[in-house]
Amino acid sequence: MSTLAISYPERGADWRLPSRGRVGMYCLIAAEAAIFTIFVVAYLFYVGKSIDGPLPKDVLHAPIFYTVCLLSSSLTVHLAVRRAKSGEMGAFARWWLATMLLGGTFLFGTAREWAHLILDEGLTVSTNLFGTTYYSLVGLHAFHVTVGLLALLAVTAFYFAGDLRPEHAERVEILAMYWHFVDAVWVVVFTVVYVIGV
């Protein structure tokens, strides 16, 4: 159909804008950060307001090992992205699988902690305000780790199907941004739950 066109031949060739995927991911991270902020505020607001036990200082033990696992997965995912950018897909896959292993270990740690709290200490989400805020905040984070792992798994599936090529490095990098965010949130959650909260 007929449309007019305007163009200025001297312009346009050097017109560069930020990648839409990257901008979109930054926005998603901002939205997620806002959601986590509300949960963190609720946690801090209710510290010490539980009417009866069990209380954090009686039952919580800082999961140092699993925290180290999750934080080092940021390093492995970064190394994976670097390999993908330079086209070494085999090395990429090794670091990528290492990331998934570390993330999986972290989730296992959360599951063990919950099993201990529920079965041995009798703390559930409805026991007291500590249970309410603890399971909600840690659970929200574990949910994000799970979603991240599923996304990492999808990329792994593409890799083994032979569909992942060096030109996809930017997409992999954008997914890695989400993973870094999930790790960074854990630093906040850890500080709030295991340092300030006890």
Binding site: R20, V23, A34, T37, Y46, V125, N128, T132
Partner: protein, 557 residues
């Protein structure tokens, strides 16, 4: 000539079966079709919300009326508020943003077309959840259909003890689902505006509509996410027996208020910034002048975005906060009047000395200017905490925020309908019907919402289903209800005009208003790909440059 081509093409295209065309609409990822879907969705819910408002006004037309029971009245005000904010105002605003932003920045679609479709259908699902509560809200308890907790759903009304059945659950799911849709669209809008602009369109050359929608989308990300978080907490409370808002177990009802209004007040700016956006495009075109103070307008919009995030607790003066908190929220609320006032002066300065054409879009915009000024002034009176202790939760507040939402936002949305309908439908609306709509709605609006302030000052609280005679409220309530009839008549004329335009309106051509932004460059309605050749721009008014090569804007900007 362009219009002629359009007709010829549509004449030779064979008519496809209805099922095929419907399937195309349901599966579409085209930003223009999704925009239209958003808008049609909003209009359907406008009718529903309007019916609920009419039922309330008929109930209050005289003292001791018994048209509906107190229970039904509670459901009506809850459904009216929830519907109008989440399923009328938001979809209409998003619909226009979806339709216009890619066209105005010279792009072929949004940054993420499939995310766009996902977001729309999440919103639609939310609307379905809300209205399904009329059928499914009873649950197994026979406990009353449709939510009745008020649109801000204060604790402990939402606790399982006080809200048995599923009506509150449907309310939560509706807001959760539409909230995810809103966040998706906001992400999409920001990525589109940042990454999809045509060559030459630097940030300083974007149309103001695009700027304002950028600020709006940022606010959605920062404001709707807390609401989503609070809804998740409420779900955990109701389904897993948690205690976030359970005062019996040490939880706090006040923290729900904070969480809700951290969303609730920025939401007002989410809705009003797009209204400003429409005014900022329409007023210059119908004054035949470039916008006055472009960069100041941009800065004022950003300032509104920032200050708008820090005024929420002015909804809570009557709850009782510390003197420090009261002072902070009084001052921040008054401060936001400054950038808003700057905008009003800039629109007036744009009109000043212009050759003003009072077509229907411009009439709605001019009415908006004065009505929004009054809405802002009553807002400043409510920002004074001691006065708010007197007027809070009275009809004065109801009148104030309807002045903002109807007198400000809805008037601009009507202006936008008449201004861009020729682009979207390819046909011109009926000017006489447009003017009739304006005058009916204008008279109805002022009858209803001017006089609604008075019973509020006289002490009539909101959300009461009836009142005693002889308190001086009767005559005012009667006038307020009479205004509803005029508004309804105006809406009816509007609907007739919409249908008539799409069916019988005379062809509009590419650029019926002799306007200056890129959407008027392409045909009406635009082809699926928007632009055969991606345009390039050198100024804020690319079509002015095209039409006036001897005196282009880029020489001066």
């Amino acid at each position: 000539m362009m219009a002629g081509n359009t007709v010829a093409l549509s004449d030779i295209t064979p008519v496809r079966p209805l099922t095929v065309r419907l399937h195309e609409w349901v599966t579409t990822v085209d930003h223009k079709r999704l925009g239209i879907l958003y808008i049609l969705f909003g209009l359907v819910f406008l009718a529903l919300g309007g019916i609920e408002a009419t039922i309330m006004r008929l109930q209050l037309i005289r003292a001791h009326n018994d048209l509906v029971s107190p229970q039904v009245f509670n459901r009506m005000f809850t459904m009216h508020g929830t519907t109008m904010i989440f399923f009328v105002a938001m979809p209409l605003v998003f619909g226009f943003a979806n339709y216009l932003v890619p066209l105005m920045i010279g792009a072929r679609d949004m940054a993420f077309p499939r995310l766009n479709a996902f977001s729309f259908w999440m919103t639609a699902l939310g609307g379905l959840f809300l209205y399904f509560s009329f059928l499914g809200g009873d649950g197994l308890y026979g406990a009353g259909s449709a939510p009745d907790v008020g649109w801000f759903a204060y604790a402990p009304l939402t606790a399982k003890t006080f809200s048995v059945g599923h009506s509150t659950d449907y309310w939560i799911l509706a807001l959760l689902s539409s909230g995810i849709g809103s966040i998706g669209t906001a992400i999409n809008l920001i990525a589109t505006i940042v990454s999809m602009r045509c060559p030459g369109m630097t940030l300083g050359k974007m149309p103001l509509l695009v700027w304002l929608n950028l600020v709006m989308a940022s606010l959605v990300i920062l404001a709707v996410s807390p609401l989503t978080a609070a809804q998740i907490m409420l779900l955990i409370d109701r389904y897993l027996g948690a205690h976030f808002f359970d005062t019996q177990a040490g939880g706090s009802a006040v923290i729900w208020m904070h969480f809700f209004w951290i969303f609730g007040h920025p939401e007002v700016y989410v809705l009003v910034l797009p209204a400003f956006a429409f005014a900022s495009e329409i007023i210059p075109v119908f004054s035949r002048k470039a916008i006055f103070g472009y960069s100041v307008m941009v800065l004022a919009s950003i300032a509104i975005g920032f200050i708008g995030m820090s005024v929420w607790a002015h909804h809570m003066f009557t709850v009782g906060m510390s003197a420090g908190a009261n002072t902070f929220f009084v001052l921040s609320t008054m401060a936001i009047a400054v950038p808003t006032g700057i905008k009003i002066f800039n629109w007036l300065a744009t009109m000043w000395g212009g050759r003003i054409l009072f077509a229907t879009p411009m009439m709605f915009c001019v009415a908006f200017l004065f009505q929004f000024l009054i809405a802002g002034l009553t807002g400043v009176t409510l920002a004074v905490a001691p006065l708010d202790w007197q007027l809070g939760n009275s009809y004065y507040v109801v009148a104030h925020f309807h002045y903002v939402i109807v007198g400000g936002i809805l008037f601009c949305i009507f202006a936008a309908f008449y201004y861009w309908l020729p682009k979207a439908s390819g046909r011109m609306y009926n000017e006489a019907l447009g003017k009739l709509h304006f005058w009916l709605f204008f008279i109805g609006f002022h009858l209803t919402f001017d006089f609604m302030h008075v019973p509020g000052i006289l002490g009539m609280p909101r959300r009461i289903y009836t009142y005693e005679p002889g308190r001086g409220w009767d005559i005012w309530n009667l006038i307020v209800t009479i205004g509803v009839a005029f508004q309804a008549a105006g809406i009816l004329v509007f609907a007739v005009n919409l249908i008539w335009t799409c069916w019988r309106g005379k062809l509009a051509g590419n650029d019926p208003w002799d306007a200056w932004t890129l959407e008027w460059l392409t045909s009406s309605p635009p082809p699926a790909y928007n632009y055969a050749v991606i345009p390039e721009v050198r100024s804020r008014r690319p079509l002015w440059d095209l039409k006036h090569p001897e005196d282009p804007d880029w020489r001066y900007e």
